[in-house]
């Protein structure tokens, strides 16, 4: 049962619980009207200590489309955080008013501090360069709807794999399925952190390769997961400028890719996917963004223990 639990990283949900969320998300996509009053009288708090468009809007839209209401802040300067309030105190206060909370924070592990200090379900909406479990739900739902499942997939991850929290979460989630293999395409400085390499890939004997060039591995891939080099994660602007344009996906690069390749991106993109790729049927990042709202609707319902007959 997911009711009452916090979701801080993908492994907080079992494979069966994930399937339950995806089944519910599929049902919502098929008949959204049926769920329009599922969360009547419920309140979602959105605590965004860092800018966000997609994730915040998709959570807010999800709750509103379920008939619930939303309170919160979208930048910490407009809240008591600016007065120096701790995360622990903030969440204890919010829990007096809301039924469920979503938190994005630039510091890694911040949502865990929140979850440890309340009985209200807390959802991690991205903590620094660490984890982003609901983006992973979005990614997985998109893959499941196209591929029918998660086994025997060769997944290319490209760009900023060091600070890319969506990548860390996706690797963790996919590590539980049979026959999954990763090809990680990045400059040496932006390779996945040790806790992902040792703690997830090597600990679970997941085959992976680290390469520097995208084109040579393109024909092998079933999924290509592009990421943005994130300016906000660098302490040094020079490093960001040196690395930001290293990988740009264009039509020429996917010439020899599989017909059913899935090109995914957590968005927002800067220039790592050329606009010309958008019209290719394999470009699925906007479909992915849409799925994000539906899967968050499903997650909110599960955490609140709400069922619609």
């Amino acid at each position: 049962m997911l009711k009452g639990r916090s979701i801080l990283e993908p492994m907080d949900m079992t494979v069966a619980e994930l399937e339950g969320i995806f089944d519910l998300a599929d049902a919502i996509i098929d008949d959204p009207e049926k769920f329009a009053h599922a969360c009547d009288g419920k309140l979602l708090a959105t605590l965004f200590y860092e800018p966000s468009t997609r994730t915040r809007f998709s959570f807010e839209a999800a709750m509103l489309r379920l008939g619930g209401k939303v309170i919160g802040f979208s930048e910490p300067n407009s809240s008591s955080v600016a007065k120096g309030e701790s995360i622990a105190d903030t969440i204890r206060t919010i829990a007096c008013y809301a039924d469920i909370a979503v938190m994005r924070h630039p510091k890694e592990g911040a949502p865990r501090i929140a979850a440890n200090n309340t009985d209200m379900p807390v959802i991690n909406a991205g903590d620094g360069g660490h984890m982003h479990p609901t983006q992973t739900l979005t990614d997985l739902l998109t893959i499941r709807r196209r591929k029918g499942g998660f086994t025997n997939l060769k997944i290319g991850l490209c760009g900023d794999l060091k600070f890319g929290r969506t990548v860390h979460s996706l690797i963790k989630a996919m590590s539980r399925y049979e026959g999954v293999e990763f090809i990680m395409i990045s400059p040496e400085e932006l390779r996945v952190p040790e806790y992902v390499r040792k703690g997830v890939l090597e600990a679970n004997n997941i085959p992976y390769r680290e390469v520097k060039k995208m084109k040579e591995v393109m024909p092998e891939l079933d999924v290509l997961y592009m990421t943005r080099v994130q300016r906000e994660r660098f302490f040094n602007e020079e490093d960001y400028i040196r690395l930001k344009d290293r990988y740009i996906l264009d039509l020429e690069k996917i010439e020899n890719a599989k017909e059913d390749l899935m090109i995914l991106h957590p968005l927002p993109r800067v220039n790592e996917i050329a606009v010309e790729v958008d019209n290719d049927p394999r470009a699925l990042y906007f479909e992915q963004a849409k799925n994000g709202m539906f899967v968050r609707m499903a997650l909110i319902m599960k955490l609140l223990g709400i069922e619609v007959q």
Binding site: A88, K107, G109, D127, G129, H130, G199
Partner: protein
């Protein structure tokens, strides 16, 4: 070298040679008011060389810290000049407020009163991971 035996206290024996000073640092014993003997590089039948610490009148040391720093060490509790208890150490599964997370992006760097919690990830390599940010610390080399 002769170090007198103690009437009451503890003897931390079989400390891996060279790590005794770290153990003393972490145990934070009040050396102004307690008699402490610290022997480095003593002969050991088992290990060749070892460090050894004797602390008089103190019996309640933090065994979690000891296990974390040197799980091969042994602790003898002495009362009335006799060993009343022998304790074998092991790597603790979880340590609280012993290891500080050094990741500048970790929430523990900004959140007041947050406990620094580390979980054992690999017993062979003595690697621990931060509960919050998953950063890995190798306690063999710390």
């Amino acid at each position: 070298m002769i170090v007198n035996s103690i009437e009451k206290g503890i003897v931390i024996d079989h400390i891996t040679a060279g790590t005794g000073h770290r153990i003393l640092d972490y145990l934070n014993i009040d050396t102004k008011n307690n008699t402490v003997a610290f022997i480095m590089n003593a002969y050991s039948q088992k290990h060749g060389r070892k460090d050894l610490i004797k602390i008089e009148n103190v019996t309640d040391v933090d065994l979690t810290v000891l296990g974390l720093l040197d799980p091969t060490a042994t602790v003898n509790v002495i009362e009335n000049g006799q060993i009343v208890k022998k304790i074998s150490l092991e790597l603790p599964e979880t340590v609280v407020d012993v290891i500080k997370c050094k990741n500048p992006r970790c929430v523990t760097s900004v959140e007041r009163n947050a406990h620094h919690i580390f979980h054992l990830m690999n017993a062979e390599t003595h690697e621990y991971r931060c509960e919050y940010c998953d950063d890995i610390v190798n306690m063999k080399g710390e």
